[in-house]
């Protein structure tokens, strides 16, 4: 098999239903995943929470809320802290209190857009369960920059409107269940391609 492009920057966005979905996904990702994983889960800007600790309990990969300007590494999961956008730059993660997008901060779009800008074809963007329209524009930016766009199968998502809207608004590369995503991501990172049975854009719902 000819290796495809190197894809080692995974960005994931989720909203309502996201804790369960991320725990399921992280629980199945291998400990030697050779990619950086950035995650935005919509969360209250005002409430302290143990979200990173909760996700860590299900994950072999280390999960943390990075510090501003922290250098990122492969094999680690970085979670946007409350009230901050998570921005990917060359080698560093920035935390900003920039303008809310879709009334929320952290928001998925700034993470995806910044990853697309700095890492282009090396990005895999994944939109999971959630309500509302955050993530749609960001996923289009990932795809436009040569990256790969994936969404959780809306039939499986607790809240289907985020993945559903992403599918409606762009030609996403794959529609996968969480378990299929957990299988596909390490293969894509290693230069492989999507399993042929993964549902494609033309699914009519």
């Amino acid at each position: 098999m000819t290796p495809g492009p190197r894809r080692d920057m995974i960005v994931i966005g989720a909203s309502a239903g996201g804790v369960q979905a991320l725990r399921r996904l992280f629980g199945r990702l291998p400990a030697d995943l050779a990619a950086t994983v950035g995650v935005v889960l919509h969360r209250s800007p005002f409430a302290e929470s143990m979200l990173a600790e909760v996700l860590q309990r299900s994950s072999r990969l280390p999960v943390s809320e990075p510090k501003h300007a922290e250098r990122f590494a492969k094999g680690k999961i970085y979670l946007a802290p409350r009230d901050h956008h998570l921005i990917v730059e060359d080698g560093r993660l920035l935390l900003t209190r920039g303008p809310k997008e879709h009334y929320t901060r952290p928001a998925v779009d700034p993470l995806f857009r910044s990853a697309a800008k700095s890492w282009g074809p090396r990005v895999i963007g994944v939109v999971l369960t959630g309500s509302g329209d955050d993530g749609v524009s960001g996923l289009i930016a990932v795809k436009t920059a040569g990256g790969m766009s994936l969404v959780q199968d809306p039939a499986e998502a607790v809240h289907d409107s985020m993945p559903e809207t992403a599918i409606e608004q762009d030609h996403v590369d794959g529609i996968l269940t969480l378990d299929e995503l957990a299988d596909a991501l390490p293969r894509l990172v290693a230069g492989g391609s999507l399993p042929s049975q993964s549902r494609r854009v033309d699914v009519v719902r």
Binding site: L41, H42, P99, H102, D134, E164, D170, H171
Partner: protein, 137 residues
């Protein structure tokens, strides 16, 4: 005057729209992405989908009618209290037109309340809008 630029379609890039940011009230630009997804952004970077912009305008319309109802009801109350105040002899002066104005303000408030009672804002299928929640934690 337009709300959406007449030639808006994927590929035309950001253009000035005729509507303003629900959060900071600055001008909004709009572009069509992907299969036609509309993405609105203001000068400082607040960003909205079309659905969110529609919801915001629905909310602004209702809020604005409530503001008009408040104005009419405060006017009515103020006139009623002034009429009463003068009747108690606390102040001199004619108040002949005040009662007529008080009555009209009362009717105006009732008409405005009827506008909201009868109104049917646009409804979207699917989940609750992001603006009203959706937080997991």
């Amino acid at each position: 005057m337009f709300a959406l630029p007449p030639d808006l379609r994927p590929g035309t890039g950001d253009q000035v729209s005729g509507i303003t940011c629900p959060t900071c009230h600055g001008s909004l630009r709009v572009r069509a992405e992907g299969n036609g997804h509309l993405h609105f952004t203001c000068r400082v970077g607040h960003a909205f989908s079309l659905k969110e912009a529609l919801e915001a305008h629905e909310q602004f319309f209702e809020d604005t009618v409530w503001a008009a109802i408040r104005a009419a009801e405060e006017l009515e109350q103020l006139l009623a209290d002034v009429i009463d105040y003068r009747r108690r002899g606390a102040a001199a002066g004619p108040d002949g037109t005040y009662e007529e104005r008080r009555r009209r303000a009362h009717e105006d408030a009732a008409s405005l309340r009827a506008v909201l009672d009868d109104d049917q804002p646009i409804a979207f299928g699917g989940d609750a809008p992001a603006a009203t929640g959706g937080h997991d934690v």
